[in-house]
Subunit: 192 residues, 2 copies
């Protein structure tokens, strides 16, 4: 299973935001929606071997994590509004300590990055990391930040984890996921 | 100058569509909006050396072409709704044979693919093309299709042009642009 986790530093933790204002009132939820798209979509198909975790750290709090499971998800189209609508439904659900399904393949629970890092061996996608093209083996789980850098507290949590870079330019998180998926696809299919 | 052109087979040619329904009433305009994002955006910056052409072939017709110029564009955010809003403004402008600016860096004119192909040496991004990683020199202009395949008429127009592939999987047009930009970035910066 491939896993992508994206920290949404301002992303809404209540389902009351407007689908017409994802960058503003929803706390740059548009960034996370594009990450869901990049992690899960093939042309006319979904990647069944991918899980995408959205760590929502914005108002009103406390932190929640929304999970999209590629092999189970339904009612998801590639546009931002579609994934935002499923996130909104997840956030409207009473939230417990365990993942609870809101719509098929979409889950929500309490808690943020610290808890997630205990569960999976996430590597970090970062500009100062090693070039993914030249690493002999690549991890299966990656952590990214949204439009903001990781906070000092988050940097402490991820200290010591392997760091990987997708190229020479500073890119949006969803673009980095797309490039990483391409590298993983190429390795799986003998395209090097 | 790098150029990307995307054919939107159903994409609206009037500015009357709803920003709340880009996949439906706007004719999969969401696909084209994501292509604008992939072509133009870096993290917290725009690519000044890129032009992105959207060939709109949908209702009510006739065809129009909308051009985003990376070095000039203003009021563009990464979310789909932002680029859609600029496209909507462009389409509301009376449309002539020459490109006319609707908002800074966004232009519109009459005409579609045939005219554009006469103006720039577009190569074709297609699954049956040569692997971009292994080609000695890469073109600077690329043509892609939206969620539909090129029509028979379009295939005739592009017959004989070089064809290039970004990887082993069939991907969305915007993902293909992101991967291509990464390959071009790497070549420019000596990351191979």
């Amino acid at each position: 299973m491939k896993r992508f986790a994206i920290v949404g530093h301002l992303a809404a933790t209540a389902g009351t935001f407007s689908l017409n204002d994802l960058p503003g009132s929803a706390g740059r939820m548009d960034v996370l929606c594009r990450c869901v798209n990049a992690a899960l979509f093939l042309s006319h198909d979904l990647r069944a071997d991918v899980e995408c975790y959205l760590v929502l750290c914005g108002e009103p709090g406390p932190e929640k994590t929304v999970l999209f499971v590629g092999g189970e998800v339904r009612y998801l189209s590639p546009d931002e509004r579609s994934s935002a609508s499923l996130i909104k439904k997840a956030l409207a659900l009473p939230c417990g300590d365990a993942f609870r399904e809101s719509t098929p393949g979409v889950y929500v629970r309490r808690g943020g990055l610290a808890r997630l890092l205990d569960e999976h061996p996430f590597a970090v996608l970062a500009e100062d990391g090693g070039d993914i093209r030249h690493e002999e083996a690549l991890p299966e789980a990656y952590l990214l930040s949204d439009h903001r850098n990781f906070s000092d507290e988050e940097c402490e949590l991820i200290a010591g984890r392997s760091r990987h870079s997708v190229g020479p330019k500073s890119l949006h998180a969803d673009h980095a996921i797309t490039i990483l998926q391409n590298e993983l696809d190429r390795r799986e299919h003998g395209w090097r």
